[in-house]
Symmetry: C2
Subunit: 157 residues, 2 copies
């Protein structure tokens, strides 16, 4: 990928994440307990879910080890309100910021070739057959994922 | 942009649109009148909104003239339920399919250089200063946009 396109792909991610941040950052613990719609996920759950999913991108993109693997059980493996939140709102916000900073600092150093390397969840053999299973594919998919949930977060008044 | 990356960018768009289609296609006129949350947009409005926004991409990406410019007044310039829906559910679904097919057929023919050409809403002069204001930027931004609203559509039971 050329430098300009890489810049745009990263800018697209940053824009979605920063809009979400602007929405969530001012909210306190009580406000984060609000649900996006009746019987639907709390904002708190969505923030935990996105933090866990972005944290999983660290090994997936071969950036490094996970920072908060303990979030998966609560925010990926189980639906909202089935398990207690393991972190306070303040700590979850810190985790969210830390995961995203680690991720973005690393991808900003990716070379054009790095983007087209296989992601960690595909074998060399399968990747040889399907070169689309690369880091760029993961990054585009997760950009859509965060945007999907951002559309839900804005519904809270 | 290399061919593989272009393929991934287009696949990312297609995945979001097709998931939304799977959700909306089986719904009849009455079901499309449901709101995504109390006091929020109807599914019908969101479908009109997305059709109008994607239709605007045709001239913006220099693909061709608009197919449904009459949708803007109802689904972009005004909030939901302020004006009557100009099309039936069946006709709106047809419009949505037609706009997306026209768009995708055209971008699939874009060369690597085409993606980096300026979009139609920026002047040559401004584009010379900001080469990021290209077709790829528009396409990534609209992929996020449709994903944002897809996150809302799934809330309807």
């Amino acid at each position: 990928m050329d430098e300009l396109s890489i810049k745009l792909v990263i800018a697209s991610w940053k824009q979605v994440v920063s809009r979400l941040d602007q929405r969530l950052a001012p909210l306190d613990d009580e406000q984060l307990q609000k649900q996006i719609a009746p019987d639907r996920n709390r904002l708190f759950y969505l923030l935990g879910h996105l933090t866990a999913v972005h944290d999983r991108m660290l090994p997936l993109l071969s950036i490094g080890q996970r920072l908060y693997p303990e979030l998966d059980e609560v925010y990926i493996a189980n639906p909202d309100r089935s398990l207690a939140d393991p972190l306070s709102a303040a700590d979850l916000k810190t985790a969210w910021g830390e995961v995203n900073t680690t991720l973005i600092s690393a991808v900003e150093k990716f070379s054009a070739d790095d983007w087209l390397k296989k992601h960690a969840a595909v074998s060399e053999e399968d990747f040889a057959k399907e070169p689309t299973r690369n880091r760029l594919a993961v990054f585009l998919s997760r950009t859509n994922h965060v945007s999907f949930h951002a559309g839900q977060v804005v519904l809270v008044k």
